[in-house]
Amino acid sequence: MRLRYLTLTAVAFFSAFPLYYSVVVASRHNSALAQVPPPLIPGGNFFANVSRVFDTVPFGLALANSVIVAGSISIAVMFFSTLAGFAFAKLKFRGRNIMLVITVATMMVPAQLGIIPLYMLMVKLEWTGTNYALIVPALVNAFGVFFMTQYLSRALPTELLEAGRVDGCSTWGLFWHVVLPAARPAAAVLGMLTFMSAWNDYFWPLVVLSPDNPTVQVALSTLASGYVNDYVLGLAGTAIGTLPLVAVFALFGKHIIGGIMQGAVKG
């Protein structure tokens, strides 16, 4: 029993240490990194380093882009996933089961392999360099649809929908007045998960955006790839790009974890 706590505590330490250490480095001066032993507690240079980040890359613009992109994607995913989840969980229509199976199967498709035609498509649409290229392809995804289907089939009583029908509600009316309110707890978790993954997305934004109009992750990679290895600069950027998310996660972690585990059961 004691061993169990010891092991889990060690794992928790290794999970948290790299993040902690990034703050240590981000709050130091480059010269402090050359010490042996390396510094293990934060110094007083954090804000000076952060302002250097803003001087080196358009970080304000990057933050704004990331908020707009991740925000719009989250709202759209919550809405469309609840809509499709409602249909799959509670409505009867021909081909429902096979369509649900196909939806789940698409999660296995390695979409990254289509990156070249996807880029060509963006060039055709004249969306390269704009946030549209990030937002539109991500408006809804299979995981969200499956997640909401699972939740609604479990948590939304069919009698409630039947009562709504008797009162003369159309299907859309049912969705708006009954389903949406009932879906709120799961949709909130889905929204947070979506926001985090959109915020952290790196490869596709790197391909379609230019360095002068980046998202946070693209700006961070620019910082980290300078000719001189300025770790302090890179980690100061990492800290301000990551810590807000970590803070949100620390606050709502319990719900987010519950969501991941529910989505996982019967994968």
Binding site: S22, A84, M107, P110, P117, N200, L220, G234, G253, M261
Partner: protein, 320 residues
């Protein structure tokens, strides 16, 4: 008398509308997902095959059909095979220990525990961290001269290791980053499955004097096999497509080489990074060649995932 036909037609109209509403509207509700998937998921994947049969670059006006020419060039390209080797090596190094560790951690958490939530939150913390942040942080930790990892190793008499320079060492460093980011996430997936295993099985086993390790082997693992198969397949598909880690490691470790070469000697260039190099980082922007590589990679993903599927399903009796 004169209002009657009007009332009938109105009623009929309403019933038509009702039928439409019940029969057709569900399709409209699921349509956004399928439309989006076809446009931005399926179409690009299929179109990749078409592009791969052409001499096709970003800037060329016309595209010449070359049949399987790109593929035969590719199969003779040493860099392609180097990338294939690196992908498999990093894939095995990062996935196998990761999943074993994740099952074990889930097993440890699958008890009544104090600080249960705290442990779970800390396990998932790395997964909230972006790839860029992970690689930037670990490049510093793995630094040759002033990195914390070499400092700790020096207590055991290990000399300064230049992690990014060697093939084996760079693969280990990248695997550590991938494991750090994903182990906790997979542990939670396993934990979710373990919680569905009936408690009585464990109680009976405890009465029979079975150790917890024995219980893990003969109760837990057989009972959560479907989840294990699922996680193995998803991890395999993910591992075959690793790109951001080696790309960023090449830049932030100061190893040298181009943005997409995976080190000066291509010691950690993965297949996906090879595709990116051909399509976007080369001066030629060779879409045709890159698409051919993508398509071979797709085949490799299917084959490797299929093999792993068969292996995981087999494991069955072997462990019990």
């Amino acid at each position: 008398m004169s209002t009657l036909p009007l009332a009938i037609s109105r009623r009929r109209r309403r019933s038509v509308r009702h039928t439409l509403d019940v029969r057709v509207s569900p399709y409209a509700y699921v349509a956004p997902f399928f439309l989006l998937f076809c446009a931005f998921g399926l179409f690009p994947l299929v179109y990749t095959a078409w592009v791969s049969l052409h001499e096709w670059t970003l800037l060329s006006e016309t595209q010449e059909f070359v049949g399987l020419g790109n593929f035969s060039t590719l199969l003779a390209d040493g860099y392609f095979w180097n990338a294939t080797f690196n992908t498999l090596s990093i894939g095995v190094l990062s996935t196998v220990p990761q999943l074993a560790l994740a099952i074990w951690l889930a097993h440890l958490l699958n008890r009544r525990l104090r600080f249960q939530t705290l442990f779970r939150v800390s396990l998932l913390l790395p997964n909230v961290t972006s790839v860029v942040a992970v690689v930037v942080i670990f490049s510093q930790l793995f630094g040759r001269d002033f990195g914390v990892i070499n400092w700790v190793l020096s207590w055991f008499g290990v000399g300064n290791i230049d992690w990014a320079a060697g093939t084996a060492t760079s693969h280990i460093a990248l695997s550590v980053m991938i494991m750090w980011r994903w182990t906790g996430y997979n542990a939670l997936i396993f934990l979710a499955a373990m919680q569905a295993v009936p408690r009585e099985l464990y109680e009976a086993a405890t009465l029979d004097g079975a150790s917890t390790f024995k219980q893990l082997r003969s109760i837990t693992i057989p009972m959560i096999r479907p989840t294990i198969v699922f996680v193995v397949i998803v991890s395999t598909i993910g591992a075959m497509q690793i790109i951001a880690e080696p790309m960023l490691f090449g830049q932030s470790s100061g190893a040298g080489g181009g943005i997409a070469t995976g080190g000066p000697d291509r010691q950690f260039q993965t297949l996906a990074l090879f595709v990116y190099e051909q399509g976007f980082a080369n001066s030629t922007f060779d879409f045709g060649y890159a698409s051919a590589a993508s398509w071979l990679m797709f085949l490799a993903v299917v084959v490797v995932a299929g093999i792993n599927f068969l292996i995981t399903r087999r494991v069955k009796g072997g462990l019990v």
